[in-house]
Amino acid sequence: MRSPLPHNAVPLRPPDVVMRLDRLGSAHQTRLSFLRAMLRRMRVEGWRVARPVFEIDERGVGTAVYSVEANGKIVSLVAFGHELPSEKRTDRVIAEEWDATFVLFEGLPTAQDIARLQANVPKQEAGRYLATELVLARANRSVRLFDHVLEALAGGRQPDPPQVEAVGYLMRTTAVYGNGKFGIADRDRIKDFLAFAGPFRAEMLTVYLVRLFTLDLIEHLARLRGGSKAVVLERSLRRRFGIGNATGLGMAPFLVRHPALIDRWVTARETALARVRALRQADQRAVAIFRAALQGSRRGLRAWTTSDDVQAGRIAALGDDLGNIERFATERVFAVSRAWDLIFRFAEENLSLEGQEYTVTLLIEPHGDLVDDLADSMAIEEATSFRIDGTMSCGDLARSITRDYGWASALDFSEKRSIARFWYVSEEKLEPRLGERFEEAGVEQELPLAIGREVVALSAALEREEEGASVAAFLLAHPEHRHAVRRIQIAARHPYSEIRDNLIEARLRPIDLLRCKLAFFGATRFDPRSDRWLRITLFQGAPFPDELGAEGTEHWIYGE
């Protein structure tokens, strides 16, 4: 691992603080988030976007192709529009039809390719794919907004900005699949391709192009309906359309199954924060960006609505928090040495978790020159952390547990509420689900997500071993502990690898897991629809391909 901090550096926040579920569930996007990192890459490398095919009828049925040329290579989004009866429209994974389906394809598809894709992509999981396919996705219209915008544009009017702001998108994706699912390309195959080395970069590009498709689609439909009377969206209003997304439990186990990767994500963000806190002086330009982002955030907060009572309370508290930061961060504070650190410590002592984590976002925002290189450190070859070092002694393994898993030892698994839940995969939808251990069948098929419980059991087993015995010999005799030992060895090298909470306890809010991952993607407007699924917005305010080169688009996410 590189050592990015100078000797006078501020230490990174400890994992015991950062990796708690309630804090992870309060995470916000930063400039290192994947979609923002992708757009920077797009701008710097001058990726070119074209639309070689757009054959869609007045019902929205047809085909469109968007091609992206980057560093001499081409990938294409192939979009299929469908006619979907309203009663079949659902965000849930149980859906079998959608308003539109998409595939990101390597190269430019021929008519033959498109015919093959047309026979499979609309079926999504039920279709089969080749290694030329990189990402698979589908989306449904926002009924609330789509019809309103269509009617307005066809009638020669702009849609109502408050309505646009309240929803924020014309379509929301209900799944975006990558990495080898259903026969598509493995990540290993695409990671060096098109600068897709960053985590989820191919998926982010797919979603960005889907957003572009939704706007082209609505203007096209308006033209077909309104004829010469129809108008296109005004440029600034057009940017207020992002793309929605509905995410459920399918995403939750990912964070537990990829410990080394999660560590890279969190390490990058925490390193960025530490670099900013270590700055002796706040320069004028950075202060101006910080203030603009803060004010933009306060404005944006008014449009962040949710029907979830817990989240609604947190948003209200965040509003107060942002006001407090604004009042605290005066000229006098910025004149003091290490002003950014002062603001951080003010937030730590006075604000809600949402407010503290939002402060992290705001502090990092003005410092692209200082932190943007970290976006390239957020991927990892996970296979390299898979092998177990069996030459380690059982005594050293026990000491690793004491050092890194104190949080697990503090949990009492003899209490019924500590093991009230269990994770499993449902036969019906082949998706992860959360069950009640003492009320439902299927506990024999439990997924290994209760890491704390596994580590506590391993600790007890190690007490019966000789201090100097090798881990290899121990595991040969006790394969039931192999899963936990691997994690402990990963945690020793990757401090932020483990969520330091009990994922099977009665009070668990699974959406905290989803929120954390989505924040790293770059999502905004978290809107829990239950404790197990939520809606978000991606790319709202983002420049379109032809606007990427323009000045002042860097901080688009704050509505500038």
């Binding site: 089969r128 990495n179 177990i388 009640e436 439902e440 290899a472 394969p479 039931e480 629809r529 239950s530």
Partner: protein, 210 residues
């Protein structure tokens, strides 16, 4: 059927678990299967044979340079034993007795990252990291259901007349019937829906067509 490496890994992970392996070993089996597939070697039959043998339930006994199952009628599991060898990070001379699906040992010897030869009746594999070369009497020997004796030894001074295994990173063609059987094991890890789980398992209630 053509599948991705990721599909192989996730299918074998769940199938191994469905067959009764501990999660940590099932992960090893999944990585091992994907490793073989990358080298265009068959993994389906060896895995199926292992799953039906449930050989991982036998305790391997290490006696000097020999590993054998703890009972006369038992067999060694290539995953449990292979993982031990790769954990040690060495490929010391060793004789493994009565190993089920010996081809599944290959990835673990490769991961041990040392020059060595692995041989059983009719098959010889030479490891010179990062290269693996294979000489075999034919598919029957390679896919042997059991090696009475598999031996791991330092590279002999002889000229190795085998073919270098080449890494492949596109889709992998799998045997449809075997793949279906692997899915059968995988299905044992799934929980059927109940009235309650349909309502609460993934969270519901809120309108989602708006």
């Amino acid at each position: 059927m053509i599948v991705s490496l990721n599909e192989i890994e996730t299918t074998i992970l769940k199938a191994a678990r469905g067959a009764g392996m501990e999660w940590g070993l099932a992960e090893e089996a999944a990585h091992a299967a994907a490793f073989l597939a990358r080298l265009c070697l068959p993994f389906e039959e060896p895995c199926l044979r292992l799953f039906s043998s449930r050989a991982w339930n036998a305790n391997p006994i290490v006696e000097g340079a020999c590993i054998r199952p703890d009972r006369l009628e038992a067999r060694l599991c290539p995953i449990r034993t292979g993982a031990y060898l790769s954990d040690l990070g060495r490929a010391d001379p060793m004789t493994l007795m009565h190993v089920v699906s010996p081809l599944l040992l290959l990835p673990f010897i490769a991961w041990a990252q040392q020059n060595s030869d692995l041989a059983w009746k009719g098959v010889k594999l030479r490891f010179e990291p990062p290269n693996v070369a294979l000489a075999s009497m034919g598919p029957c020997a390679l896919l042997a259901s059991e090696a009475e004796k598999a031996s791991l030894s330092p590279i002999a001074g002889d000229v190795f007349e085998g073919r270098l295994l080449v890494v492949h990173d596109g889709g992998v063609r799998v045997d449809d019937a075997s793949w279906a059987k692997l899915h059968g094991y995988e299905a044992l890890t799934y929980v059927p829906a109940s009235a309650k789980s349909r309502v609460s398992g993934a969270g519901a209630g809120a309108i989602d067509n708006d």
